[in-house]
């Protein structure tokens, strides 16, 4: 026999007959002897009728339409997002996109590269700044320039003669003597007088000497060129910031198409050396004055001189 408390939990399920056979039997037995629980059952049944009597509410008018309108709005929103991210309805394989992307990227890189190349190419020709060691003085650079010039000349001269003018003269004499000997030899067969042939030989020698003239002319032009380069100008530039000024001067030198720029660093000064066109020298000096206090030592170079070896000593203002 179950107590009221145990049955209390089962009574509500007894009402709609959802108890198992065993529980149902126990409840029925209990109800027979318990008026309280019997009353509870009655109340539960009444409650059930009340609940069953509840009316269903109807949806408001246009409820379905309202819902569908909202559903369609959602769909449009979704489609909009889809269109935004996948603007193409046709499904183009991703590989095609990748290929196009790479092609465009490659073209872009190529273009930028070309621009950079142009920048590099359009810079004033060879202005390599050589950092010379302490003690490696301008003479050394001069030597290299000389060597270069000499090389050019010697190749030109080779066509005419192998050595310098003096050597050529010795050769010529040799030639003449040979000619005389040969003349004498031919004389044996032709019977011509030896004196005449000697005269002839001398004329020929003079002619040959003339043919050596271009070599001599080249020699002179070479000397002149050397002279041109060797016109030197020494200036002192006093500045507050040596390093910054050096950079500025280097830029300036490049701008003025200076060649063979070299830099020498010492404890308290920086010496820049370059070969500058004389015609541009005055303008360059004006520019240098804007960087620092410019001091010129010695005579300004002759106007006839084409190139100047310019030595700029950049010093800190004391």
């Amino acid at each position: 026999m179950k107590k009221c408390r145990d049955v209390e939990e089962l009574l509500p399920l007894y009402v709609d007959d959802s108890l198992s056979g065993e529980d149902k039997k126990a409840v029925e037995e209990h109800l027979q002897s318990c008026p309280g629980c019997a009353k509870a059952i009655a109340q539960l049944q009444k409650t059930k009728t009340f609940i069953d009597g509840l009316h269903e509410v109807e949806p408001p008018p246009w409820f379905k339409q309202k819902i569908m309108a909202q559903v369609r709005r959602e769909e449009e929103k979704k489609n909009f997002v889809r269109k935004l991210f996948y603007p193409w309805q046709i499904k183009i394989p991703v590989q095609v996109f990748a290929t196009v992307f790479i092609a465009v990227l490659a073209f872009y890189i190529y273009r930028t590269g070309e621009e950079r190349m142009n920048e590099v190419v359009s810079l004033p020709a060879p202005a390599p700044v050589m950092e010379t060691q302490k003690g490696q003085m301008p003479e050394q650079i001069m030597k290299t320039i000389d060597k270069k010039v000499q090389k050019e000349h010697s190749t030109a001269a080779k066509e005419v003669t192998r050595g310098p003018v003096g050597q050529a003269a010795v050769d010529m004499v040799k030639d003449a003597n040979e000619y005389v000997v040969s003349g004498m030899k031919t004389d044996r067969y032709q019977g011509a007088p030896a004196a005449t042939s000697l005269e002839e030989a001398k004329v020929k020698l003079a002619k040959k000497k003339e043919s050596y003239a271009p070599a001599a002319a080249l020699q002179t032009s070479r000397e002149q060129q050397d002279q041109n380069i060797q016109a030197r100008s020494n200036v002192v530039l006093r500045v507050t910031d040596v390093d910054a000024a050096t950079k500025e001067v280097e830029k300036l030198l490049e701008k003025y198409e200076a060649r063979n720029i070299s830099r020498q660093m010492m404890q308290d000064k920086i010496t820049l050396e370059a070969v500058v066109n004389n015609q541009k020298f005055e303008n360059l000096k004006e520019h240098l004055k804007t960087i620092g206090k410019l001091e010129e030592s010695g005579m300004p170079p002759d106007d006839a001189v084409k190139n100047i070896i310019l030595i700029i000593n950049i010093l800190k203002i004391k």
Partner: protein, 207 residues
């Protein structure tokens, strides 16, 4: 046990009349959803109404539930009946809304009168068929009290009571909807009925 549940659900799904429309919706045919709304709107609304006790709130929640269902219709895997899935959504949304409302009520103070009037008006609709004005009034008052008692129940009791006693779902369906075991459904239902009985005895007097 679990296995049998699944097979039951599958059997149920196999008989699901909604499934063809659900599949159409999943393929992007929006119009197919209209059929589903048409079929379920009344039941959805009534579940929400009995859970919440306020007609306008119930309409809002029902609408919200349909939209939510549409948005996630692709996630519906036909493991249970579509209706079960749909009603679960409305029950959960109603519970969430009630939590929000109770929070607001606590902050702003009770607005019972307004809600009460509104509900009487709405429930008035249902008694048009009744000719006797006296009986009409009595029915209306009784219904109002019953609803008041339902609304006073704890949430977990209310939902089983609404689903079983008002909507007449089977224990199995309720299990699926609320995702609680069979025993729990029964014990909650027993407590819900007792609590409702006690509430009605208090409000109406001797039953």
């Amino acid at each position: 046990m679990r296995m049998s549940n699944i097979s039951n659900s599958k059997k149920a799904a196999a008989r699901d009349d909604d499934l063809q429309y659900v599949i159409l919706c999943q393929k992007g045919k929006t119009d197919a959803f209209e059929v589903l709304v048409e079929r379920h709107q009344k039941k959805m609304l009534n579940i929400a109404y009995r859970m919440m006790g306020d007609y306008n709130d119930a309409c809002d929640v029902t609408q919200e539930a349909f939209i939510a269902a549409y948005k996630s219709i692709k996630k519906f895997k036909a493991e249970a009946k579509f209706s079960t899935w749909l009603y679960r959504i409305v029950v959960n949304l109603a519970k969430n809304r009630l939590k929000q409302l109770s929070g607001r009520k606590r902050r702003e103070g009770p607005l019972d009168d307004q809600a009460g009037n509104n509900n009487e008006e709405i429930s008035g609709q249902s008694f048009i068929g009744e000719s006797d004005p006296g009986v009409q009034l009595e029915n209306r008052e009784r219904e109002f009290n019953v609803q008041k008692c339902i609304t006073s129940l704890d949430e977990e009791y209310r939902e089983v009571l609404v689903l079983r006693d008002i909507q007449g779902f089977s224990y199995e369906e309720i299990q699926d909807m609320l995702k609680i075991p069979d025993g729990t459904v029964k014990s909650r239902l027993a407590r819900a009925r007792n609590a409702l009985k006690d509430c009605l005895s208090k409000v109406i007097g001797d039953l």
